[in-house]
Each structure stands twice: as C-alpha cells, then as structure tokens.
Amino acid sequence: MRIIVQKAKCQGHARCAAQAPDIFKLDDDGYILLGDIEVAEGEELPASRAVRSCPERALELTRCAL
C-alpha cells in the first residue's frame, strides 16, 4: 500500500502524524514532508486512519504499486 502525498495541499494540521507518527513525518513547522509514502505490511490500519483524518485531502491511498 502506498500513500500519495499532495504536498501543495498540506496546511500543517498534523492530524496524520497524530494518528501514525511513525508513518507520517512532518517538517519543523508541522507540514508533511515531500514524497509519497510506502506503507509497511501490518501498518495499513493506522495509515488509512491518518489518510481519513486529513482535513485538506492532501493524502490519498493507493493499492497498486506503481
């Protein structure tokens, strides 16, 4: 599972990192780091929770490994 990060949409709510701090890394201002995220097996649940908590819709789940 992979998470597509639309960095331009991120406004630094930090809700993703609150749900899954190990998966979603923020910069010093609290905005998500650039680059898509590969989710390890077994971490799908917190990862998808985090995606569903982003108020700006900056995160998107995809199941195909492009």
Partner: protein, 405 residues
C-alpha cells in the same frame, strides 16, 4: 436589527431569515445549544444570503456545505481575508497578521510564526500547561464540591497558558479576560474602548521589548526580519493584537462546552474517566461538535458560486459550526459520538489560514479534560443553575456551575 436592505444583485428568493447573531438560540440563552441550532441550515440550499451576519451588522452569503467552504477558503485570490475586522472597530484600516493578509504576503509572515507554535514546540510547552491545569483543579477540588468552571478553571487555564507563551505575567489575567469579553461580546460602546485598550497595550509592550529584549514572543516579533527588513510598527501591532485576541476566548469556550456536554452525558463522562486514552479522539469529536468561530471572506471579483451571484465586495461566511454538521461529510452529524473516526472537522479552518495555534489549543483541551476527569468525581450541572450560551462571531458559554456532591 435584521432589517438591512437586501443588495440589488441578490435575488430575493436567495435571502433566508438566518443569522448567527439574531436567529433563535444565538442571543444569550440559558441552557442553549447554539451549535445544534445552526445545523438546521442543512435542510436548505447550499448557499443563501443572510441580511445580518457579522458583528458590525453586515449581510453575508452563507456557505453551508463543508466541500464548498473548502473551495472558498483555498481560493484566497477570489475570496480575500482582508477586511480590517479589528481596526475597523476603531475606524482604521490595518490588517491583523497573518489573518488578514492574502498570499503571497501571508506565507512570508506565516513562515515566520509557524515554528513558534509547531507540534514540536508545543510538546516542549506541555509540562507547564499540565502543571497549571493540575494546580487550578486541585485548588477547586480542595475548596468544595461545586465551582463555576468558566471563572475558576477554563478562563484562568487558557489565558494563563497563553500569557506564558506571550511572556506576560499572570497578575493581570482578569483584566485581559475582561478586555476580550468586551471586544467579542460587548456592545457598540464597549467594543471600541476594548479595541483601543488592547492596541495601546500591545504598542506599549512592543516598545518595552524594543528597549530591552527578553526571551519572549514580543521580543521575537520586534527583532524579526522579513525579506531583510525589520517589521514596521503597524506589522508588529497587527501580529501582537491577533495573537493576543486569538488565544483569549477560544480555548476557554471549547473547554466550557466540552465539560457542559460531559456534565449532561454521564455515560460518556464515565467512559473518558475510566479510559483516559480515549480523550484525544473524543476531543476531536468535541471540536467538531462545538467549534467557536465563523470565518468571513470578501469577494475580490464577481463570481457565480453554486448559482449565487456573488459580487465584488460581498461578504462570504464559512461558519465552522455549519461545516461540522454537514451530513454529506459526517454520518449522523448531530449525534456526538466520542469514538467517531472519520472526522475531518473544520474547527481550525481550512486552507492557508488554518489556525496557527491549533496544536497548542488541541493539547490544552486534551490536558484540561484529562486532569479534570482525573481529579473531579462524577459531576453534573448544579441544580437550579443554567449555563448561558451565545452565538455570534465567536460562540461562547458564560457560566458553567458544576456540582459533584
């Protein structure tokens, strides 16, 4: 009051008799539930016109769907946030910063301020916040089995946390709370006096920090450079005033509404007391249910929005309490479900102006509830008393007498 003429370009059928200031449940109401009262707009159209919907009595378009609010709040080019909300009270015209700057100028100041209230920085502030909560609640617990949460806990806790962040001493706390009350809930005479007082206070503080630097927020601002230049006096004032006002009322109101909910819903209260790990998630749901702020933007050009002929200069309201009860976004929006997971609420706004203080505010609420529930046994609203709630630009709760005898 609600008798402003409808502007010529607004089709009469798009006007609705709704106002965050004058509709039922919005003026001060004993045992009111102003957030639930506004949810009725979701039975109507996605956008309509309200003739009286700002603190200074102006009409606004009202956007009801969360998705449409996101469109407005992300498009700062069309929907500007510069409306001199504060300085117009004084008949002046300077922006509070960063709230009333549009991109790209907004981003410059936002980047300057972001590190001061980042999730990391807030983590470092937490021990002092918790210590203050414990101190206040232990005093309450030791002195009886009843208290006014607003006066004895929510305001002193929120405001002193915030004063500490600004680098100001606690001893004038009551004075500051009074200024905030007059500014946000006062009448046409009280508001300009409060605004003038706050400006004078911020100007004086800035002057003191310019003379003698200390390790605090205001010193940081007067020393800061943006694009190679020191900030002007008006910029320093614009930042100081905003940050001062933003932290005065909002966190206290949130804690008040949250504890009022728990006092009326003993099962949820017991659940959070016995399983405090649930408090962070529950706090998000309470932020969804009881957000305090209405956001306003000004159209910079004519635009047709979902069938509404918005004209340059029109005000557009994006009320967080309305977005947060949108059935298209939240299952059973009027049910408070402390275990709700799909919860992309708008309490802190959307887009570039997303609340700068959100990470601090959130932790204050979580810590406040944790320490309260750990120290105060099953509590209810004291018999014979009624919390007085109000709508308006910032929703509020005046008093909350709890009893745990």
């Amino acid at each position: 009051m609600a008798t402003n003429p409808v502007p010529d370009h607004v089709p009469p059928e798009m006007v609705r008799d709704f106002s965050l200031f004058t509709s039922p449940g919005m003026p001060p109401t004993p045992d009111g539930d102003p957030h639930a009262a506004v949810a009725c707009v979701h039975d109507g159209p996605p956008i309509f016109y309200s003739r009286y919907n700002t603190q200074d009595g102006r009409g606004t378009w009202v956007i009801t769907r969360a998705a449409d609010q996101r469109r407005v709040l992300r498009d700062a080019e069309t929907f500007s946030s510069h409306r001199s909300i504060f300085s117009s009270i004084l008949g002046e015209n300077w922006p509070t910063i960063p709230l009333e700057l549009d991109p790209p100028a907004h981003g410059v100041f936002r980047s300057l301020l972001n590190p001061l209230l980042s999730p990391k920085r807030v983590l470092a502030l937490e021990p002092a916040v918790r210590e203050r909560a414990v101190e206040l609640i232990e005093r309450i617990a030791a002195s009886g089995t009843s208290c006014d949460v607003m006066k004895d806990f929510a305001f002193p806790f929120a405001v002193s946390t915030f004063l500490r962040f600004l680098g100001l001493p606690d001893d004038r706390l009551d004075t500051f709370v009074g200024w905030g009350k007059d500014l946000l809930h006062g009448d046409d005479k009280e508001r300009p006096v409060a605004a003038r007082t706050i400006v004078a206070f911020i100007d004086e503080l800035a002057a003191m920090r310019r003379q003698e630097a200390v390790d605090d927020f205001m010193t940081f601002i007067v020393q800061a450079q943006v694009e190679g230049r020191r900030l002007t006096d008006t910029q320093v004032r614009g930042i100081g005033v905003l940050v001062f006002v933003a932290g005065l009322d909002t966190v206290a109101a949130a804690i008040g509404f949250d504890l009022a909910y728990l006092a009326r819903n003993l099962k949820d209260q017991q659940l959070l007391r016995s399983e405090p790990d649930r408090i962070p998630l529950a706090t998000e749901e309470l932020l969804r249910a009881y957000p305090p702020i209405q956001l306003i933007r000004v159209a910079t050009k004519d635009i047709d929005f979902e069938g509404a002929p918005i004209r340059k200069g029109d005000y557009v309201s994006c009320a967080t309490m309305i977005a947060n009860r949108d059935p298209a976004e939240f299952a059973c929006p009027n049910t408070i479900d402390l275990e709700r997971e799909d919860n992309r609420h708008a309490a802190f706004g959307y887009g570039p102006h997303r609340c700068l203080g959100s990470h601090l505010a959130r932790r204050e609420i979580v810590i406040g509830l944790e320490e309260w529930l750990a120290r105060i046994p099953a509590f209810r609203i004291k018999q014979g008393t009624a919390p007085i709630t109000s709508g308006g630009h910032v929703f509020g709760i005046e008093n909350l007498i709890l009893d745990w005898s």
